[in-house]
Amino acid sequence: MVKKGKFSEPSLLILISLAETNRHGYAIMEDIQQTYAIQLGPGTLYGAISRLEKAGYIRVIESEERKKPYTLTKAGSEHLTQQIEELQKITTLGSKRLGLL
């Protein structure tokens, strides 16, 4: 069973990539590489994609082309928002404790 509350880093990066625009697997990989300089392996990428699809956070768009793009669902968007808010709380607290704020 997919644990909806838990996010691994690749899943979060994939959701953020799809929040911008619909992308197919390799395009997601390239976006993550260009944006964060993180090279996701194909096994890691599709492991995360399968989990996200099972959780209902992303879905594939039917296409005539060989490469099928993925899109963020409403549930995925809500979940990403929630995750980012949690990350913001953590960074704000960390910054305060470090005296940066």
């Binding site: 697997g25 392996g41 096994g43 890691t44 599709y46 399968s50 989990r51």
Partner: protein, 147 residues
């Protein structure tokens, strides 16, 4: 590359196999990618087995229990310093045969359902029986050598 992708569980392969192949065509098949794919295969099987149960027991847990049982037997054997090498080899082969027999049988049951999966008319059913035969043979050899 296709051989590696073939190691993924069938439902997973049918859904993502082609896409994964396309991505690997772009990235190439370096040692890093091979390791990543092997970890992905392990992960996909873990997810696949954790979603299936037998008599209410999750399959991944069942495999862990079986592996622990095998490790326990092997550790017991290794601690017996007086046991000669030949006996150890016989027991190791017997345990591996048993593990493979159960794994092949479970795969067959998942592929074809309980009734067909347990019959000997299928290739995997016959293979499982062959491993069980090997288990029986080597376990008897172990007992004879040990006594």
């Amino acid at each position: 590359m296709k051989r590696l992708i073939y190691l993924y569980p069938k439902p997973w392969r049918e859904r993502y196999g082609e896409e994964l192949e396309q991505v690997v065509e772009h990235t190439g098949l370096s040692s890093k990618i091979i390791i990543d794919l092997l970890l992905g295969i392990f992960d996909a099987w873990h997810v696949e087995l954790s979603e299936r149960t037998i008599c209410g027991i999750r399959l991944d847990r069942l495999f862990v229990l079986m592996s622990m049982f095998n490790v326990f037997v092997l550790l017991q054997l290794l601690s017996l310093r007086e046991v000669i090498l030949l006996e150890q080899i016989a027991l190791i082969i017997a345990m591996l045969s048993f593990l493979l027999a159960v794994c092949v049988l479970l795969v067959n049951v998942f592929k074809l359902g309980i009734t067909k999966g347990l019959s000997l008319n299928t290739k995997l059913g016959k293979l499982s029986m062959a491993f069980m035969g090997s288990y029986a043979l080597f376990f008897v050899s172990f007992l004879v050598l040990a006594n």
